[in-house]
């Protein structure tokens, strides 16, 4: 029996390759994700051990606010400058202690007037602490010694095209300041940067003021141990001397911790990649299922003969499953190999994009190997089970009959589909209603997945009517009509092939519906409920929001034609000891009240004095049911916790919510500069007159721009496009596998219909017409799949949008152009998928095809 299986495998190389390819691609994605994150993880390990190579022990302040890793790094409290002497004097075994005034957020303005962007690595501003084993000034450079002098790392100088002697404008905690570039430095081993980070080095007092916001403080103290003292010993001695207010760690510890934190971030990233791999493999199951079904159908006589000569049902099932096992095994090996290649390539691209991360050697983690084989074998076997069972049901007498077993009626599969879809819909509803608790995400995902299976099971029933209607679009010619009829010939086959394409497109369209609705809702809110004509804001490009000079707010307020201006500063704070939440420092609360049409529920929204705060009703309940006149404690990023009095509570609305503190409180924010402002024009003033005046005020704040409402909305929703593009790229694999499925189905159909094709050619169908016939069949299948995908995606997106109605999704909007685009693309995909099968069909040898037996 086994030998017969292998013989049949070898005789069907094409099917083997095509159905195997789907598994190869899926496994490639899975193992590639593991290889990528493993390689990047080890690269970061190398990076941070370099960063901390000069540090035996580091002393820092405890962060005032701990935040989750995914929300950004916590900002440590500054330590007093005299701590350096205290460590040097009081702790034995210290060779050297150096105060560091270093923080992310030194944004250099390039020669084009725009900020030099970072795709991830920090843009550090620091005090110059001298040359070392690691840092050396390049020839022609000197250290910054005067207040207006800076040095920068060679990588940054290259990116910006800066030379020693240039005037360099830098944005820091303070608005734009201009410095003279006196030094360019590099790192050991002739590196221009460490991991793509940019560094601007000031003199110590300037760095303290601009990067830490205070005089005579450091962000950390770097301590070197004297000979004979281990870093661990020194750490313990310093910790004992300084007490619990400080965080004391060895350089190795810091390197490990930072690496671990990056690894966890990469783990999150890995899970996203694996999610998309899962979609691709899910689609792959459809493809393999279809292939095996067709193979079993074509081998009916052969299998029946085996049964007739004594093979048991179990042996027939076994033979089909062994065939699947071999395909799964070969595909897993190939997929693993391809995955290692893809992982390495992506790691390289990632390293380049991040500005030159030195890559550790490519490694293949055990997880990659295990998952490759588990996934590859499991997917293939699961997909082969149904066809195997069907094969075992072929009666021995079928060997003697000429006619194929007629298709079973679709009743059972339709009922099963309806039940599955109902179950999926119920899970989805449960998840979206928010009643599933912690399992919400999983419930929703399971609901989506089960719904897909349900729709796929219902597809055969839909196939006949939909395909026949769709096909009429293409059947103006005889080959078109023949193609349409062929695509309606085997509804199960057409349905599964189309359903595979449905999955990817449904997900894209679903997300698109959500984002389009979000944009529409946002647009409506801005139009109806924000009474401002000019918006000042920027697009976030790094860990810190884009900000502008606070002086712009006052100047804008006194600009002719401007009635009111309100501005916002953003930071996290701990309010009444709860977990960190956002607080907003507001410029001119009365203007904010008018512009956002806030109505007081308690107290007043007219003024916001020192030590007062205003908040929305929901937040008031959340932080323990406070009322006007109550006292609330707030811990900001810098400074000590302070007590504020509730001046007013505003009613909940769709536009803004949150805790408002006075503008003066922003000095203790991580970034004491505003990130958004809203300008209301005076009656009769024209936006075309006022906008240029506001723009002129922003000349020194290149991170933000002034815009009218539509430009503002476009700017704020631009990241949706990025999200959508990413999803489309990641789902491209699932769609590619679906296209392989179409190729596969067509190739097998062409094989099955060789004699028919021969007949058609004999009675005068030209080669081109033959190809057109196959192409139409292919287009009908792919457009049918896309149509299903658009319909299901719209359904999913609508369900999510409706469920989130209370979260501000006031409008449901459909991305019509995208939907149309996908249908057109599907038609094109159909054409492409048809190329090889069509050529094969056109090459059918007429004589062989019509020769009997």
């Amino acid at each position: 029996m086994l030998r017969a299986t292998f013989a049949s495998l070898l005789a069907r190389k094409l099917r083997l390759i095509l159905s195997g390819l789907a598994v190869v691609l899926g496994v490639m994605f899975v193992s590639g994700a593991f290889v990528l994150t493993d390689t990047l993880g080890r690269s970061f390990e190398g990076l941070f051990s370099t960063v901390y190579s000069q540090t035996d022990v580091q002393v820092a302040g405890k962060p005032k606010i701990e935040v989750d890793e995914l929300e950004g790094a916590p900002i440590p409290a500054n330590v007093p400058a005299d701590l350096v002497e205290r460590i040097e004097d009081k702790v034995p075994g210290v060779a050297d202690a150096v105060g560091l005034a270093e923080a992310d957020g030194a944004r250099v303005i390039g020669k084009n007037g725009k900020v030099i962007a970072s795709l991830g690595p920090p843009r550090l501003g620091a005090n110059w602490t001298g040359e070392s084993d690691m840092i050396t000034l390049r020839p022609g450079s000197k250290a910054p010694t005067a207040e207006n002098e800076i040095a920068m790392n060679a990588g940054l100088a290259k990116t910006g095209g800066f030379n020693v002697g240039d005037e360099i404008a830098v944005l820091t905690l303070e608005p734009k300041k201009t410095f003279k570039l006196v030094g360019i430095f590099g790192y050991s081993n002739d590196r221009d940067s460490i991991g793509g980070a940019t560094v601007v080095a000031f003199t110590t007092p300037v760095a303290q003021q601009l990067m830490l916001g205070e005089k005579d403080v450091y962000s950390a103290i770097r301590v070197k141990a004297a000979a004979g003292v281990t870093p661990e010993e020194l750490r313990d001695r310093i910790a004992a001397e300084l007490g619990p207010d400080y965080v004391v760690k060895t350089g190795d510890q810091l390197a490990t911790e930072t690496t671990d934190s990056f690894r966890r971030g990469l783990g999150f990233f890995n899970n996203i990649l694996l999610g998309f791999a899962g979609v691709a493999l899910f689609v792959g199951i459809f493809l393999i299922l279809n292939t095996f079904s067709i193979i079993v159908a074509q081998r009916t006589r052969e299998l029946a003969l085996m049964r007739a000569v004594g093979a048991s049902r179990r042996q027939v099932i076994g033979s089909v499953l062994v065939e699947a096992l071999v395909i799964g095994l070969v595909a897993s090996v190939l997929g693993l190999g391809a995955g290692i290649g893809v992982g390495a390539l992506l790691a390289f691209v990632f390293g380049q994009m991040a500005g030159g991360l030195a890559l550790a050697g490519i490694g293949v983690p055990v997880a990659a190997v295990v998952s490759a084989f588990t996934v590859g074998l499991l997917v293939t076997l699961v997909a082969a089970v149904l066809p195997a069972i069907r094969a075992s049901r072929i009666p021995p007498v079928a060997a003697l009959q000429d006619s194929a077993i007629p298709d079973k009626p679709l009743t059972r599969v339709t009922i099963a589909g309806a039940l599955t879809l109902t179950a999926g819909g119920a899970a989805l509803a449960l998840g979206l209603s928010g009643n599933a608790g912690d399992a919400t995400l999983w419930t929703v995902l399971a609901g989506v997945l089960v719904s897909f299976v349900g729709v796929a099971l219902l597809t055969p029933l839909l196939a006949r009517p939909v395909v026949s209607v769709l096909g009429r679009l293409f059947s103006w010619s005889v080959p078109g009509k023949l193609g349409r009829l062929n695509s309606g010939r085997n509804p199960r086959r057409t349905a599964i092939t189309a359903a595979a394409l449905m999955v990817g497109i449904a997900l894209v369209i679903g997300v698109n519906v959500i984002l389009t609705s979000a944009t529409k809702s946002f647009d409506r809110l801005a139009a109806n409920q924000v009474h401002a004509e000019i918006y000042i804001s920027g697009e976030q490009s790094g860990p810190l929001p884009p900000t502008f000079d606070a002086a712009v707010l006052d100047r804008a307020g006194s600009t002719p034609g401007v009635a009111k201006v309100t501005g916002a500063y953003l930071d996290r704070a701990i309010v009444n000891g709860t977990k960190p939440d956002f607080v907003v420092a507001v410029h001119d609360i009365a203007a904010a009240r008018d512009i956002f049409a806030l109505t007081p529920a308690e107290g007043s929204l007219d003024t916001l004095g020192e030590g007062q705060l205003v908040l929305d009703a929901e937040s008031a309940t959340q932080i323990g049911g406070v009322h006007a006149g109550d006292r609330v404690s707030i811990q900001l990023t810098r400074g000590e916790a302070e007590t504020y009095t509730v001046a007013g509570i505003y009613q909940d609305n769709d536009v803004i919510s949150g805790i408002f503190v006075p503008e003066s409180a922003a000095k203790n924010f991580a970034v004491p500069q505003p990130f958004q402002a809203f300008v209301q024009l005076a009656p009769g003033a024209s936006i075309t007159d006022v906008l240029p005046r506001i723009e002129a005020l922003l000349a020194d704040s290149p991170e933000v721009s002034a815009s009218d409402r539509s430009a503002f909305i476009a700017q704020q929703t631009r990241q949706f496009d990025t999200i959508l593009t990413m999803i489309q790229i990641l789902l491209a694999l699932a769609i590619l596998i679906a296209v392989l499925g179409i190729v596969n189905t067509l190739a097998l159909s062409v094989l099955e219909r060789t004699r028919e094709l021969g007949l058609l050619r004999a009675i005068g169908l030209r080669r081109a017409q033959t190809m057109r016939m196959i192409t139409v069949e292919s287009m009908v299948i792919s457009v049918f799949g896309a149509l299903l995908g658009v319909a299901v995606g719209t359904g999913l997106g609508t369900a999510v949008v409706r469920a989130l109605r209370d979260e501000g999704f006031t409008d449901l909007a459909f991305p019509w152009s995208q939907m149309a685009l996908y249908l057109v693309l599907a038609a094109l995909v159909g054409v492409v998928a048809a190329v090889l099968p069509a050529i094969r069909a056109a090459r059918v040898d007429v004589l062989n095809a019509i020769a009997y037996e």
Partner: protein, 248 residues
């Protein structure tokens, strides 16, 4: 004589393979198939009768010699030219698998014209349909028709385009004798009443007796001919040739 020939082969050779494995299927056959005649080609298997038909019909290329359909020389035509010729000037009836399962009987009949983008002449269509006697079955799919009915539909398809020649390859091979007689009778009527040229390959003497002329092939050459044969005469000739073959 040339003008009267619907199809003509001039010194046609067909050689398969080369060297040791070389097989000569046709050895310099010259034959004229007169217009408006029903010709049967007979011979034992391996005699080259099917090869000759395939070459005459533009389904296969010849190694040497010329083939003409009407005034057109086939030899030298490319695939596109041959396809157009088959579409416009040749009708086919095969032994089996003659119809597309997805199309109704009527659609099958009009398929070659539809492929060519032509409309059937309605009068002629009616005449053909009435002759095959399947008017009430036109909307049926092939799977709903009997073997004989399917073959009559195939004949109607071959005739509807009024081709220069209809080639029938063992058209009754898969039919019982009564259905076979219907099909053959229909082919003969198309010759007698409509002046159609029909060339039929068969090994059944009874089928050959419907023809006006029987050409016997043996070992790639024409070995005998009969005009207006009956089944008896055909059988006799076959026996004679068989004896000759054994002696040779």
């Amino acid at each position: 004589m040339t003008t009267a020939a619907a199809a003509r082969a001039v010194d046609v050779w067909k050689v398969y393979g080369s060297g040791e494995a070389q097989v000569v299927a046709l050895r310099g056959i010259s034959v004229d198939l007169a217009r408006g005649q029903f010709t049967a080609i007979m011979g034992p298997s391996g005699s080259g009768k099917s090869t000759l038909m395939h070459c005459l019909a533009g389904l296969d290329s010849v190694t040497r010699g010329q083939v003409y359909i009407g005034g057109t020389e086939l030899t030298g035509l490319g695939d596109a030219g041959l396809t157009r010729l088959r579409r416009d000037q040749v009708g086919f009836v095969f032994q089996q698998f003659n119809l597309l399962p997805t199309l109704s009987a009527q659609e099958n009949i009009t398929l070659p014209l539809a492929i060519a983008g032509r409309k059937p002449d309605p009068m002629w269509f009616d005449t053909v349909i009435d002759t095959i006697g399947l008017r009430d079955r036109l909307g049926h799919r092939p799977s709903q028709l009997s073997g004989g009915q399917q073959q009559r539909v195939a004949c109607a398809r071959a005739l509807l385009g009024k081709p220069e020649v209809v080639f029938a390859d063992e058209p009754t091979g898969n039919l019982d004798s009564r259905s076979g007689a219907e099909v053959l009778g229909f082919l003969r009527r198309s010759v007698r009443e409509f002046g159609q040229t029909v060339v039929m390959v068969t090994h059944d003497p009874n089928a050959a007796s419907y023809a006006d002329r029987v050409v016997f092939l043996g070992d790639g050459q024409i070995v005998a001919e009969l005009a207006d044969p009956d089944a008896e005469a055909v059988l006799d000739t076959m026996k004679r040739l068989d004896v000759l073959g054994t002696v040779a």
